[in-house]
Each structure stands twice: as structure tokens, then as C-alpha cells.
Symmetry: C2
Subunit: 370 residues, 2 copies
């Protein structure tokens, strides 16, 4: 007889948060795709980070520092906190899992926006929690009032907010985030996922500083161009960080990634250049939408949602683009499941997308008018 | 009020499986140490693996394949199984956590040898399980009969065997392992950690092949010299692998690590050379022990345990070596807590250890005879 998983794991349905571009390429018989579906940085890591990592590789035979001391000290300086306020993990996905495991007992409820970043939901279900959601607003933005009212009425153990939001790309302003956070019931943990914060520009999103009920997450996967390195961090009280220390995977973070992240963090002008180039690409996508008469959602990230006529149209468009060698994704939940979500690529990738998108729209319009 | 962790996590005592050499170096005010304490490969990764990783680094902005398809296919060919029999994780530590989370419900019991590889125990406690142990034999080797008798009598959910064992370095023969595995109660999962298997040489340790009640773990951290890359894999039935798929961190493995592991796996002659050099170093340590009149435990790994006069003597020796800039560890539990465990280094590292060890022993003997 096969050893049985725990009843709790047994009850988890089989699901995959994301089908990878490698699998999609295999599906359509291509070696590779134009990758505009996973919000990876088209501009790569800082050359200084690449050089630091290349120099470090011969010592890959050594374990990385399980305390990530050098990186945490640099991050503490950047954020004006102590290294005891920081935990480093193998991406925000890893840290979300750690949060859920630590704070959400089986059967307890986590509240978030329907359709937001699915890996949080994946961990809630995976650890036997219950998911409660409120709908986003019609324009794709998070409904802070609805989150707040539901949190106050029901007292969930965790409230999760991705800000800027993924997959919509929209942002909640600093005052709204602060209002939500301050109103949360005693004992509710606020998980603030700021993966895309480096693309926001000058819009203030939330005050810096460690707050007792909050875990803030930042990543090197987006503006720093280190998605493949799997490295991110969370900021919280020393009590919360010490609790993570009791159960986290101490040797989970790649040594070269730690060295690359440290170098990337120091290269501020490179990250600023990437953010500026992303802002230009975002404007280009908005202009493209205008030209093609396809509305776009407001974006403060490195991707833009194009709003098509229907959910079915959006799904067909993902397929039509894939056939043309272009990988994009679509949001899974209303009110924005009529969108395709397109990462800001390099200028040639943007041109390839624009051409394929226009062609696929034309093909469809021709069919519709035939 | 601070959000409270789950009662189960709250009950976990604060503990750290290993203090890192970086932290120890800071403690004694050194920039670095001769690293002979973490069983890292002194011979580094294959030059082909380094070259493949260096070439891959500019694309660190891409996520790695969450299915690790290329690597799993290569591993499947190596082991004569299907890729559906394989899950890739961020080191055996990660995979042990996944096993415990998947199979050991809070309160259920895992059985192993007292003092064996502590990260398994760490996860058992971290997930709210109960640990049961049997003692190792006087020579440091695992007591298969005791494990078998206890497993049959008590029906634990998991039996964990590191073979070769860490920290003793000893091995259980293929017939013994098979006898234990075949005798396990229905529903008991056998977790066989073969991290050091590549150093065993021609001694058969256990038949290849997928067995229903068994998860076998292999790593790229030891003979392949990729400890810092965090990449390992487990072999099991497709049913077990599919269960892992429901809850595992899909994007947890570094992209460059996957590419490095694939190249390292292909470079069989390099790994064979490393194993041969390790065997030479092991013989040298045994000869050193003989010269110094310090017994050594039988080793089938890349480390050797030197048996000192007492637990206190071993602990003092770890400190004395650290003061001399040499990092070694000592087993934490009897009957081998009177040992220091020393990784096979390069020939100059071995010489540095031999000199420091002899000196520290002399200092102690002088004190004793004064």
C-alpha cells in the first residue's frame, strides 16, 4: 500500500499556479517564445550583478550564508531598519508560503482580492486554510473599502494585498493602504506584496518603516532582473522574523543569488534606467491600445493589461499570440478576465508583440465581419 | 497586538540546524576559515558546469523551468525511470521538508537514528510531528535491527535513513537496507537520503529502482560540488511525485542551478575524479589518525570522524581548530559525540588540518601532563 499523505494534503486539489513558457513552447512545437507573460525583466540584471555572479561561480561548491548577513545588512541600510527586521527567501513565493505556514492554521481564513497573485491563494489552500475574497473594482483596481469592511466584519487571520496589484497593474494609494492597515482587527496579519514597487515612480505607495501587524515583501525578480536567481526578502518586526527562523529552510537561498542581489542592490543607476525604460514601454503599450482601439488598464508595473471584448476573446488572443510565438497570460478572474496581460519587453519584443497583436485582431475582425 | 503564529508553530522551540562558517568566522574575528565542517566539495564543480552556468547568467532575468523538464529527463535516463518519478528541489533539506509536510500530520511519529542528519529532525519538529529514535551502534553505524524492531512495533509514519550516514560516515549494506525496507509496516514511508552515495565506490548500497514505500534522495551538493546552487532530487512513485506537485514551491529552484546540474551530471569523468581524490584524502585522514593515535570511524563519504577521548575533548577540539582558522563540526549525539567530523579538503587543506590538529592535540597533552 502506498503511504498516504496527511488528510489535509490529501484534500488539496491538484493545481498549478502557472504553466511555464517552456511547457507552452513544447506544446506549440517551438524552441522558445518571446517571453512577455511572466513579467520578467526584459532588460536583464545589472552588468555588475552578472560580473559578481560570474566571479562567484567557481565557489558554488560552498553553501551560501544561511543568515544572508551581508545582504541583510545592505538591505537594512537601504530601508533604515535593522537586519533583525529582514528575512531572505527564495523569491516572494517562498516567503508567502512561510507566512501562510507560520500564521494560518488549517481552517483559518485569509482574505484577499479575487484573482490577485495566485501563489498566495495556492499556499492558503496548500496549508489547509480557507480563502475569502472580495471582487476588484470594474477598472481592475483593488477595492480597499470592500477589503476593509470584510476584514472588520469577519476578522481574517491574514489580509493579503499586492500593491501594485498583479495581474491588473493598478495601484492603491498610500492613504488607502494605511487606512486599511490601521483598521485591521487585532491579531490580523497584513501581508503587503510590493514585488512591483520599483516601477511605481514617484507615486507614494505606503510609508516606509516596520509596523507591528505587517509583513512587507520585496523581490529581486522584477526591476533587478534576477527572477531566475530566486531571491526576495520580507520586512517585519524582529518577533515575526524570529518566528520564521524557527521553521524556515535555513539553507534555501542560492549562494550566487545572494552575491548577485548584493551587487544589483548597489547599482542604483542601472535599476533607475530599467524603471525609466519600462515606463517608456508602458506608454508605448498604452499608445498601441489607443491605435488599435483596445482599452488598457492603468499600470504602475512592468506590464499592461489590454481589455478585449470578452473573456472568450481574451483567451483566444492568448492562443493566437502563442501560435505566433509570443507568450502572454490572461487574468483568471472577473472583472478583468477579458484582458490579456503583456509584459513590457525590449523595444524589439514590443514591436513583435504589436505586430502580432494587430494581426491577430485583424484576423478576428475579418472573421467577425465575414 | 502582534499577530500570533499558529499554536503548532508557536510550540516549536527556537533552534538552528547548523551555525554557518560565515557566522563562526565573525565570532573569531576572521575573514574566512578553512571550510572542513560542512562536507562541501573541496574540488568545486565540474569546469563544464561552471562554464554552462557562466554562459547562462545573463538570462537570470528569466524564471527557471518550474518543471525542471530537461534535468528530470536526464536524471530519468541516468536512473532508468520516467521523469514522472522525479521531483527537483532546492537541496535535500527542501525535499525533506516537503516529505514531512506531505506525509507527517501533526502528532504523527517519524523514526530515525539519534543524532543523524539534523535537518530531518528539524522539519519533523517544525511541522508538529513527534520524533522517535534508536541509538546508533558503538562504532557509529546505524542499528538496522533496532530501527526495524521499533518500526514493526510502533508503526511510525516515516522512517528516515541517511545512507551513507551523516555525521558518522558509516554505511548500511544493501541487504540490510532492503531487509528494513521490506519489513516496514503497511503505510510507513521509507525516506532514504543518499546525499553521499557518489563517494561509496563499489560497495553496493541498495538496488536501483522505484519502490512503492520509498522516497530516495540524491543531491548535487556533494560530489557534484554544487552546494551553493541548492539543487537536489527525489525518486519515488508517480503518485508520490504528483502529490508533491499539489503543494510544492513550483518556482523554487534557481535557473542557473538547473543548467549547472545538467552539465555536471553529464561530466561523469569529473565526478569520478572527485570521488577518487576524496577516497585518497579519506585514506590520508585514516593514516593521520593512526599516526596521532586517534581512532577514526569507517567512512564511505567525503568526511571522516576522529574519535577523541570524550565529548568535552571533542568540543574543545572544535574550538581549538576554529581558533586556528579551521572549521570542523562535531556530532551532537552519543555514541559518537566524542568525535570531530572533518571534511576531506584539498591536499593543502588536509595538510593545514593535520598540522593544526597535531598542534592542538600536543597543546592538550602538554596541559594534561603538566
Amino acid at each position: 500500500m502506498i503511504p498516504r499523505p496527511t488528510p489535509q494534503v490529501d484534500a488539496v486539489p491538484a493545481s498549478t499556479p502557472f504553466v511555464a513558457p517552456e511547457a507552452l513552447a513544447r506544446r506549440v512545437g517551438r524552441d522558445s517564445l518571446v517571453r512577455l507573460g511572466a513579467n520578467e525583466s526584459a532588460f536583464g540584471p545589472s552588468p555588475r550583478a552578472i560580473a559578481a555572479m560570474q566571479a562567484a561561480l567557481p565557489l558554488t561548491s560552498w553553501y551560501g550564508d544561511p543568515e544572508s548577513r551581508d545582504l541583510r545588512e545592505a538591505l537594512a541600510e537601504r530601508h533604515g531598519c535593522a537586519f533583525e527586521n529582514i528575512v531572505v527567501g527564495a523569491g516572494i513565493d517562498d516567503l508567502l508560503g512561510l507566512c501562510v505556514r507560520t500564521f494560518l492554521a488549517p481552517g483559518e481564513t485569509a482574505l484577499t482580492t479575487r484573482g490577485t497573485y495566485p501563489t498566495f491563494t495556492y499556499h492558503v489552500i496548500g496549508y489547509g486554510g480557507t480563502l475569502a475574497t472580495v471582487d476588484a473594482k470594474a477598472d481592475g483596481s483593488v477595492d480597499i473599502d470592500a477589503l476593509l469592511a470584510t476584514a472588520v466584519a469577519t476578522g481574517p487571520k491574514i489580509v493579503y494585498l499586492a500593491n501594485p496589484d498583479n495581474p491588473s497593474g493598478t495601484i492603491a494609494g498610500a492613504a488607502d493602504v494605511e487606512r486599511l492597515r490601521a483598521a485591521l482587527p487585532v491579531g490580523t496579519l497584513f501581508v503587503l506584496d510590493e514585488a512591483y514597487v520599483d516601477f511605481v515612480g514617484t507615486t507614494p505607495i505606503v510609508a516606509e518603516g516596520i509596523v507591528e501587524n505587517t509583513i512587507r515583501m520585496r523581490t529581486f525578480s522584477k526591476a533587478y532582473g534576477l527572477a531566475g536567481a530566486r531571491i526576495a526578502y520580507a520586512l517585519a518586526t524582529p518577533e515575526i522574523i524570529a518566528t520564521f527562523e524557527k521553521i524556515r529552510l535555513h539553507f534555501g537561498v542560492n549562494r550566487t543569488a545572494q552575491i548577485g542581489a548584493l551587487a544589483a542592490l548597489a547599482d542604483r543607476s542601472y535599476t533607475a534606467d530599467v524603471a525609466a525604460e519600462v515606463a517608456r514601454g508602458r506608454d508605448e503599450y498604452v499608445a498601441l491600445g489607443r491605435d488599435l482601439e483596445i482599452p488598457t488598464l492603468a499600470s504602475f508595473t512592468n506590464f499592461v493589461c489590454f481589455r478585449l471584448a470578452s473573456q472568450a476573446h481574451a483567451e483566444a488572443m492568448v492562443g493566437a499570440l502563442l501560435e505566433r510565438g509570443i507568450f502572454v497570460r490572461k487574468p483568471g478572474a472577473p472583472p478583468i478576465d477579458d484582458c490579456i496581460r503583456v509584459t513590457v519587453g525590449t523595444s524589439s519584443e514590443r514591436a513583435a508583440f504589436a505586430a502580432a497583436f494587430a494581426e491577430a485582431l485583424d484576423t478576428r475582425r475579418e472573421k467577425a465581419t465575414r
